[in-house]
């Protein structure tokens, strides 16, 4: 059983669906301390020296394993920067579940800056899930600034699900990816901001190898007085395919700025960007009302579906 407070358990469940000690390799970090860690036969987790964080080594050829590295903060005023490096061996196939939940009931800001670097070996496959969540009614902010760097060898594949569920006051998200020949990156980002929250999300994907590809889709909902800026850039440096999409729902007095950028440095690049910002269509609400939902319930269903 996990020896954590009820709040910490709640946060763990929100960000990683963890109710008990997870299977496989894991490190659970709570209030700046590693409270539980386990390596497995194929996944070794080692603390870094000199800085806070871990090196996570996944052996070549590892199949069907999971790594969980959730972070929870329940004390007000904690500010931390954590470096986690993942070394994924050739031909490995692994699920990595990260995420951070902050409950701040105090007057001081709580902040977690997680710097995750992925070194993905040849032909390796990675699914990475990262969820962020904030709760607590304290005046102190809940701040999350994730930096994600992905370095992909030939014919590797990475699928990233990056979700900000709710309650994060400020976030500056930075994601950089470098892809070699045949590598494939798929990103699905979901951002919810409300009240006075601000979210900045910047992606730079460099398609450096022949037949590399990237599909980056960011969906956002900005409610109340919140603000989102989405900055999605793909650079094609070889014959490659890239697609980015910013798709946002704006509500109340929310504001969204989408800044698409495509840079083609090879005549055989095929790069596409799509962007759409709009409020919920009235006909969508009406349709769900004809199914017996109230207007508010219909709105909630539409948002939940959009950010699924």
């Amino acid at each position: 059983m996990l020896n954590l407070s009820a709040t910490e358990k709640f946060l763990l469940n929100e960000i990683a669906d963890i109710n008990d000690v997870p299977a496989g390799a894991f490190n659970i970090r709570s209030n700046s301390q590693s409270v539980l860690r386990q390596s497995s036969k194929n996944v070794e987790i080692v603390s870094k020296e000199g800085v806070s964080g871990m090196d996570i080594f996944i052996k070549p050829g590892t199949k069907g394993e999971q790594v969980h590295i959730p972070v929870v903060i329940s004390e007000s005023g904690i500010k931390e920067k954590v470096y986690n490096d993942f070394f994924i061996g050739d031909n490995a196939d692994i699920l990595i579940v990260a995420g951070c939940g902050i409950d701040n009931c105090g007057a001081h800001d709580s902040q977690h800056d997680g710097i995750h670097r992925f070194y993905v070996g040849k032909n390796a496959k990675v699914k990475y899930v990262e969820k962020h969540y904030g709760s607590g009614k304290g005046a102190g902010k809940r701040i999350l600034n994730p930096v994600t760097e992905v370095y992909m060898e030939e014919n590797s594949a990475v699928e990233m699900e990056m979700v900000q569920i709710k309650g994060v006051d400020d976030t500056k998200r930075s994601t950089i990816a470098d892809l070699k020949a045949g590598a494939k990156l798929v990103v699905r980002e979901r951002l919810m901001t409300h009240e006075e929250q601000q979210a900045y999300s910047v992606y730079t994907v460099n398609l450096n190898g022949k037949d590399s590809s990237a599909d980056v889709v960011s969906r956002g909902v900005a409610r109340d007085n919140s603000y989102q800026k989405l900055d999605l850039k793909i650079v094609g440096n070889a014959p490659c395919k890239g697609h980015t999409e910013c798709d946002s729902i704006i509500m109340d007095s929310g504001r969204i700025l989408a800044v698409p950028a495509l840079e083609a440095n090879d005549v055989d690049c095929s790069l596409v960007h799509e962007a759409a910002i709009g409020k919920i269509a009235g006909e969508q609400i009406t349709k769900l009302m004809t199914l017996g939902l109230t207007e508010a319930e219909a709105e909630e269903q539409i948002i939940n579906g959009f950010l699924r």
Binding site: E283, Q284, L291, G292, G305
Partner: protein, 248 residues
């Protein structure tokens, strides 16, 4: 079950009221399948929306199961048992077909239970149940999913607004079978279909004809249909009017 009295609906057109529905009164009893037909722009879809509460009348009343629902919201009418199938189905990013059917039924249906509604409209359920109700679906697929969600409502009164619009011939045959089955199984329920299609008209218990916002005719199928499709008295009337001109 449904009683409409002196219903009118007007819209603003260049600062003047333009009447789309003009003083319509009609009743749709339990256990019957009614079809409303008539020329384009005659007010059929508007009447359907007025019944569902999507539009509000400028005059008149709508009673449903003995209750005045004229000023009830779409939601309240849905809860009382009025279902509405849109002529142009709505797309949703992120909402799956399964989600929509569950919402429609008001139950946490298993995928197998939800699939049964898709099968009724001729969709291979396993291929569709987890798909999003978005632009990846064709117009015809969306239309059939729309009808499946309305079937899942199992409502007291189901209003279909031009269900044949946008679907292929094979699906249309299938749709007729769905309506026939519904008609044969309805007891305390009613179906109202807005349609131009003769095959849908031919399964109606009664037919209502709207033109320019007015109810110009209502009667049993056997009585109304021959005139509408250009047989019987319609031909005689036509010949009488154009006697000697040989236009018919």
């Amino acid at each position: 079950m449904l009683e409409i009295k002196n219903l009118s609906f007007a819209v603003d057109a260049d600062g003047k009221d333009k009447e789309i529905i003009k003083n319509i009164s009609l009743e749709i009893p339990d256990g019957k399948l009614y079809v409303i037909t008539g020329p384009n722009g005659g007010g059929k879809s508007t009447l359907a929306k007025l019944i569902a509460g999507i539009e509000q009348p400028s005059e008149g009343t709508i009673n449903f199961c003995g209750e005045d629902v004229t000023f009830l919201s779409v939601t309240e009418r849905a809860k009382r048992g009025i279902a509405f199938a849109f002529q142009q189905p709505v797309r949703f990013k992120g909402i799956r077909v399964l989600d929509l059917i569950r919402l429609a039924s008001g139950k946490n249906l298993t995928p197998a239970q939800a699939c049964s509604y898709l099968s009724q409209v001729g969709l291979c359920a396993r291929e569709y149940i987890d798909r999003e109700v978005n632009a990846s679906l064709s117009g015809g697929e969306l239309k059939r999913i729309e009808i499946a969600t309305v079937l899942a409502r199992n409502a007291l009164l189901t209003v279909f607004d031009e269900p044949e619009a946008g679907i292929d011939l094979w699906s249309f045959h299938n749709l007729i079978d769905v309506f026939k089955k519904q008609r044969d199984e309805i007891k305390n329920r009613s179906i109202l279909i807005i349609s131009h299609q003769e095959r849908i008209l031919s399964i109606a218990d009664e037919i209502i004809v709207l033109r320019d916002g007015e109810l110009i005719r209502q009667g049993e199928r056997e009585e109304v249909l021959p005139d509408l499709i250009g047989t019987s008295s319609a031909v005689k009337e036509c010949r009488g009017v154009t006697q000697g001109v040989d236009q018919c």
